[in-house]
Amino acid sequence: MLSALATAWTSPSIDYHALAPEIILGGGIVLLLLLDLFLPDAKKWVLTPLASFTVLGAFIPVLTLALSNQGVRSLFDGRYMVDDFSLVMKGLFLLAGYVVILLTADHLREGDYYQGEYWFLLLTSLLGMVMMASSRDMVSIFVSLELLSIPAYMMAAWRKRDLRSNEAGMKYYLLGVFASALMLYGMSLLYGITGSTKLVEIATYLGSDLTSLRALAVFFIVVGFAFKVSAVPFHTWAPDTYQGAPTPVTAFLSVASKAAGFVALVTVVFVAFPGSHDVWQPVFWILSALTMTVGNFLALKQTNIVRMLAYSSIAQGGFILMPLAVAGVDGVANSALRSVVTYLLVYAATNLGVFAIVMVVARKTRSGEISSYGGLFSYAPGIATLMTMFMASLAGIPPFGGWFGKFTAFQSLVSAGTTWSYVLAIIGGINSAVAFGYYGKILREMWMKPVPDGDTTPVTVYSSLGVALGITSISTLVLGTFPGIVIHFGDIAGLTGAFIK
């Protein structure tokens, strides 16, 4: 008999404070849609500030939640948790979303886009990410994943008359659906084995019996998220999509969407599969090694800047995956989680900055080739300097943020102290050297090459782009110079259900 018959339905008690970021975002989305419908075209400019205020408004309850001393807020019977980890990640998503809005504002105005719907989709995707950070059961994770993905598929194809943009959207969509199908199959198996969709309960019931099925389920779920973080060999969509999609969308995908994938991956792995590390550790090891290496080597061959950045971001994903390959070793889980969070924060700041510059430069040169950066320093020294800083950060050169992300990743590997972790550390070390090959290429273009067409009119930086550049560059610098700040985030980022039971 199904026992649920006996229990009458009671209205679930909802902690509205805990859900405030989601509610504000949702309200903003609806308002945006309505205004878009009723406003005359001349007043449509209102939508842009509305979108940014929605995001910033959603950020306020994140702050108040972080400052309130209530500890972990558990909603819906533990299916939705607002803990420190989720708050840090929500903050990251919202800020990244805000920067993307800044990047898009002028881009939209100049291009041939549907503005209102674009903001609507962007905010919807952000809502999915914000929910992903708190989801602690498979249904929520699945729906959040779709909520953040489906708008992103369409945003990638948003430049409707551009064949490349179509292609980008189609590839992203198809592979995304394939991956989520695999993940769903894994989730169904997991549900079958454990009889629950709640991650914490799954961890309890996921014993050591049914081993082959358990391995299959865990693997398929990991693959589903590996697609999202574009880990090799599930990365194939990324370069094509990044190249074809409108640049702000690419920035959004390569930062926020990837971070959301990592959040889901980390949540599932740490909360639901702590006992199955025999399955996922080797998988992450191989994924990480492949991702770094293939990403780097393919990046070396690229001539298009966005495509190169796509491979660079794939390779960076490999570094973020690195600590997960040892997270099952006793006592390393915490430092691995901290390292992932730290790396994501640093990476988000740096990569968004890079894309801001790509947009600034593309506005002038109307080209996506790396060679169009020739002589950038001679006519836009500030931009070239900032780009140098971001490149140095991505390459892991102190004192810019990137080095610290790499440092924490290596720290986790070394503290695991197994042979395999050392081998992975060595692979990572070699890759971080190889990576300089293509970052250096850009530097060389900027500083040491003549301007390709001799056109040295200075570039114009719109105010919104300027603000975006300011935010990202200052964060990159501060995160690298005072890593104490980011460590603080990393420290509080305990994952409820995994470490604080």
Partner: protein, 838 residues
Amino acid sequence: MFSAVTEATEVILKSGWFLEHAYIIPLIPAIAFALIIFFGKKMPMKGSEFGILSMFGALAMSAGAAYQWIQRVNGAPEEAYIKPVIKTWTWWQNNGFSFGIGQHIDGLSITILCVVAFISSLVQIYSTEYLHGDRRYTHFFASLTLFSAGMLNMVVAENMIQLILGWEIMGLCSFMLIGHWWEEGANSRAALKAFFTTRTGDIGLLVGTSVLFFSANDWTQKNLGVSGFSIRGLSAWALSGHPGHAAITVGAVALFIACIGKSGQFPLHTWLPDAMAGPTPVSSLLHSSTMVVAGVFLVARLYPVFFKGMNIMGTSLNFIVLIGGITIVIAAALAFVQTDIKKVLAYSTVSQLGYMMMGLGAGAWLPAVFHIFTHAFFKACLFLGAGSISHSASHHSFDMKKDMGGLRKFMPITFATWILSTLALCGVFPFSGFFSKDEIIDNVGHNGYTFFMIIGLSGAFLTAAYMTRATYLTFFGEPRGAAAGEHHEEEHGHDTPAAHDDHGHDDHAHDSHDAHAHDSHDDHGSHGPRESGRIITIPLIILATLAIGSGFLNAAPFGEKWENFKKWVEPRAEVVSITGIPAPTGGAGEARIAEGTTDTTVPAPDAAVSSDSVVPVDGEVVSEEPVADGEEPMPMYDEKSAEVVGAEGEAMHESPCGTETPEHGVCYAPQLHHAPFKWSKAAMSMIIVFAGMLLSWLLCVQLYDRKNKKLVGLTKRNKLLGAGYLFLENKYFLDTLYEKIIVRSIAHPIARAAYWFNQNVLDGIVNGAGICTKTVAGWVYRNVDQKLVDGAVNGAGTTAENAGGALQPVQSGKVNQYGALLFGAAAIGALVLVIINF
């Protein structure tokens, strides 16, 4: 950090404002850098005034610190451990990690600080003339100043993280500076190559630092209360006997790989000659006297780690001494076949760095550090001299064969300073190189590395020989090419590539972009060679003076009294006792040290003295300190106590800082021995040096003056020499000497045997050795250096790119295939996992 942990007698060391605030030294150029970046272009001197003033400031502070350090050492008992002046501020920390920034000032850092600040000041002054009118003049000074800040920061660094920071800043700046004239593709290639090569080595630095940190942190936290990044903590840890063999070896090897990259040691030396593509002041500052010694400095700084990790003095061979030895010979041989004067100097630098490494590897710490000191002066002088020639005489060419010759008449000051520095570099007696290089060789032999002593002597021979060749080509003979007033373009004809030492023309490091720099005002080709202006010659003169004089700081031949450098700089291997976990670190004026001694009957008289009061300000000595300059050691100080460690008075090992382990104390430097100076040994090396010069000179006359390029022709001519025929037209006084020694003896009737000897042996040596060296070196240069090593470096890049190319078909653009890859990978992964877990 230590002061509170001892019960033993404490010695008060003098300190002073400059010592206490040495951390300001790197800040000065760092601030100047920012000023140049923001305001440089608007200033009357385009920002160079900021750079120069900041370097003067740094130099003044370094000098002040040096003075106070000398006071500190002189005021301490003879065998007391001279505690470095250490300060730490926590930069950030999280669980288990505490990263500080601060200063670690001891004799070594003071030495390098002074050298860097001094050379930087001169180079900056020199650059104002050399780069006058350059289009990126301001940027050049910004980079140069930031570079100095990086180097100074590395030198004062209290811990490894700070050191790495400085190290990386230098790497970045060298990239900018080498590629300063990037319009020529070779320059930006060289810049990338330099950065890439050193970055490759830097992986070792990161790995080594992490390994050491994780091995040492617990020990240092518990015993010293400092983190495992702290240089002082690592030194003590290395000598404490606690570290496992594997950990410290891996750490030391990894760090040494970084040093190989930075200091241009074999096999990563190839970037250094290529880096001569940068402007000459850059070569002088970065690639002779400061940046490249960073690797040597690191070894010297963390000497205990390398000492233990590499088993220095333990066996007759270790990694450091081996690499150093190989580098000496390889680089010196390569210097023979260069036509580019800067490349000769570059290889010479590599070779000299090999000496320093070899010295460090063989336990000759002090001579190696002293060689850093002296080498900086004469090598900077040589480089600036080369720059002076190209600037004023050879139309920005550095080709000795085509564009120089006979310049001694036109450039007397450059010539004189060049000769003095060359003599110093060769290690001729009263010049500074003698006191450092000879000491290295001497100590290497003394410490049982006989084979490497021979290598060192051969290196001295080769050094003398190639420097003589370079000198001959540049200053003697007839002016050629540009030096003879020919037009600049003409000498670029590819008609006469010298058959025996042609090297790729593409990596010629012409400073041809000086031409760009001077487009505005220069009158090309309309004047012959002339002496450079005062802004160039005055630094040359200053440096040449120091090339002569600096050796006397540690003139071992004249007895102990002259060994000041040893007294001031060498850390003393005394044991400092510690008991248990120390109290929190002391205040700013932490000037007390602990002496390990059993005699604790006399309480420390200064127990109540607050740390503030022992800080003399601005070099003033606080009178209450019990130890006066130059007086007897403290009465309770027991001579034997250095061998007896621990509060309980346990009998300790005889040499606590050698191979044995102290039980209740730590020490910060290994016990090293110095070879007693012997005139006989000095004489021997002098003979070798002079032999090198002489042979080289003869060869040069043969090859360049007589234009006698082929071995067959030379032999033929030598037969004619037998008739005493051709030398008559020789007009150089050393040719007369040559005639007297060789030709007369050949002609002499009693010298039929000598004739045979000459024909077959001396000739063989002169020609054979010379030509063999040239051939072999040429072969090595072409095949090993340019093809193998370069090939490996470039090949790695090509391989990586090819690997990327091989992967590209996977990215076919077809979405069905992407799907196939996704599901295929999932299927295979699932199959493997299912089978494993079946």
